[in-house]
């Protein structure tokens, strides 16, 4: 049967809610299990005592599950064009025999389905933002701990560099670092070689300092790390993974590196500040008296005790990274023109914004919602971690 009646707002929203059924199911399962076992789940469990935190977590979980089940949720191929659907209003029927009969959120200027692009955009964003925040954290921790703990010239040099990067306007940095011309020179690969090596060094140091008295276990763990680490490293930095599991297209690597580079100095300053505070505590003095190595004290005494503020900031940082990725997309930097990520969709939609606002509004609201969720989640976590 062919549909030719446009949907009303109510029907459109209803159909969208039905289309994301895997997300509702996933959320119900996760929330049910988490609330059931919340007393055994530490800080994560306590999150369910705070209304703000729970709302934030629900929003974040919603988008994470949308990203996971994106290929089940989309109604059309995000790149497919249906000529008559150019700038179509939300809820318009496609008039085609096969496929989903409506463009739920209308069509964009190239007659693609806005809803499917928004859903796929969630996957694009959530593929990069948490990973970039994680690498930025590894870099910030790896440099911030010694700067705070040892102080001296080490601190002076690192702080000067961090302040230098922070003094650089982010957008100018993006315009200089994320261009096809820069990709030709290999600078992003060079930066990736350094930035991706730091998490590996950090993990190796953690293993070594933890098991220094048990050489057998230490060597086992180090061997596992070396195999997995070098495999991932070769794939990500040099695009030389023989199995093809770890790879990043050059433009994505460029974006990733730029975002890590911008975030790392802030993390560095936070970690340095917390370390300077914690290093005067009794348990650090106790470890020093026991004769523990500096690496052990930093990684296994100071870092675990700094986790509260770091976890909170990590949530905020994912949100900030999402905003940065959107900024890059908004200026058309580092993304392929067809990419459905939210920033570039907003950028494409803004040209016809006053006539057909829906194409830009959908990704804009999605981005706002995800960042809001992350901020609320961070707020809830902060509230709960302060209660201890």
């Amino acid at each position: 049967m062919m549909e030719d009646q446009a949907l009303g707002w109510f029907a459109t929203i209803g159909r969208m809610a039905m289309q994301v059924w895997p997300v509702w199911l996933g959320m119900a399962v996760i929330f049910g299990l988490s609330i059931r076992f919340k007393r055994r789940l530490g800080l994560y469990g306590k999150l369910f005592d705070s209304t703000v935190g729970m709302i934030g977590y629900a929003i974040v979980l919603f988008w994470v599950l949308v990203a996971v089940f994106a290929s089940l949720i989309i109604t059309h191929d995000p790149l497919a064009q249906v000529a008559i659907m150019k700038n179509a209003a939300p809820g318009s029927p496609t008039g085609l025999e096969d496929g989903y009969p409506y463009y739920l959120l209308g069509g964009d200027a190239l007659a693609r389905d806005v809803f499917s692009r928004m859903v796929m955009g969630a996957r694009e964003v959530l593929k990069i933002a948490p990973a970039a925040a994680l690498v930025a954290y590894a870099v910030g921790i790896c440099l911030g701990l010694p700067a705070g703990y040892l102080g001296g010239w080490w601190d002076d040099v690192l702080s000067f560099i961090a302040n230098l990067v922070l003094a650089f306007p982010v957008i100018l940095l993006f315009f200089l670092l994320v261009t096809p011309e820069i990709q030709q020179t290999g600078i992003p690969n060079g930066m990736a070689a350094i930035l991706f090596a730091i998490p590996l060094v950090l993990m190796a140091l953690m293993i070594h300092s933890r098991f220094v008295t048990q050489p057998a276990r230490r060597n086992l763990w180090l061997a596992i790390l070396a195999i997995v680490g070098i495999w991932a490293y070769a794939g990500l930095v040099f695009d030389a993974d023989p199995l093809g599991v770890w790879r990043m297209p050059p433009n994505l690597l460029n974006v990733f590196i730029a975002v890590v580079f911008v975030n790392a100095p802030t993390v560095f300053r936070i970690v340095r500040g917390i370390t300077m505070d914690i290093k005067n505590r009794d348990y650090v003095a106790a470890a020093q008296t026991r004769g523990e190595s500096g690496a052990y004290i930093m990684l296994w005494e100071i870092m675990p005790n700094a986790r509260g503020p770091l976890i909170v900031d990590f949530c905020l940082r994912i949100g900030y990274t999402t905003i940065l990725l959107g900024t890059l997309g908004f200026f058309g930097l580092g993304v392929s023109p067809e990419s459905p990520d939210w920033g570039s969709t907003i950028n494409q939609g803004r040209r016809l914004l006053t006539a057909y606002p829906h194409a830009a509004l959908a990704p804009a609201l999605a981005l706002m919602m995800l960042v809001l969720g992350l901020n609320l989640l961070a707020d809830g976590l902060r509230e709960e971690s302060l209660k201890d």
Partner: protein, 362 residues
Amino acid sequence: MLTFLARRLAAIAASALVLTFVVFALTNLDPNLEKLAKGQGSARMSDAEVESWLAGNGYDRPMLTRYGEWLGVLPGWTAEGEDGTVVRGRCIDNAADREIRPRFCGVMQGDWGWSTRFRAPVGEILADRLAATGKLMFWVMVVMVPSALLLGVLAGMREGSRTDRTLSTVAIASTSTPEYVMGVLLIALLASSQAGLSPMLKEWGLLDAPVLFQGNARSAVGDANFWNFTLPVMTVALYGMGYIARMTRASMTEVMTQQYIRTARLKGVPFRDVVMKHALRNALIAPFTVIMLQFPWLLNGVVITEVLFSYPGFGWTLVEAAGNNDIELLLASSVVAVVLVLATQLISDIGYVWLNPRIRLA
């Protein structure tokens, strides 16, 4: 105090030097120079033509030399015509310059160079554009700071109350809405003749113009008015507001738990007077720093907003310069940006000491 100032100013100069060198190095990478040549010549230049264009305009010499010329510590580059007279050169923008021909013409001599994108001296362009951005920033501050402080103080006055919860949520929502989202929302809601409020108001006969506010601020450079300037100002102000409001709230809640506030309450001072006379002044020290440190963030917001509303200010110029690899305009812009960032840091440190006599600068 004087040594502190001198040290900080030296640090600013050093940072500006390092950062301009980085910008210079990045903009002078071979692919970028090729882009510049093709942008200035024609897009279909062959490799040989690109090279001869670069050589003809002095771009083929070592990078350090040219950085020195830009700084003004090395004599400027010149090209001689067939008869041995100087025809082109770094310091020669027009025929009159050919007569005087200064030997050095770098930043230290006050010459900011020539913009290849706008075909005009960088100094003039930046002065105009900074004036336009200054106007935007001024109105942003006028809107943002008082509303943020009010929001924060009202929320922090009674921690945990319903007012606090509501206002804190508003603040979080505003920090979660970056400029490019806020701008899109505001345009769709207020500046579209098809959607949002404008068609509705028009139908009710409350509105004469087709739209409530204009979604394009180009006309605001010469003549800024409520109609064409509201949306860009709100776009920048709303994103920054949430952060300042949250910091003010945190500072206010802390002050409200102090002993002297309790004493005042127990003495029977009305709550209004406690807030206005005892708490407010102490609670506003921390937000002052935050507001000053907000400038660099505003700069980012200004770039996005100016592009979105096509308002030709500093941010818009920066994007144009970067898109066309306009080396000298980019260098000057980064100097402006870096100095702005570091100077606001300095002012915030000094202001903090001035406001809070318990702290002394070493």
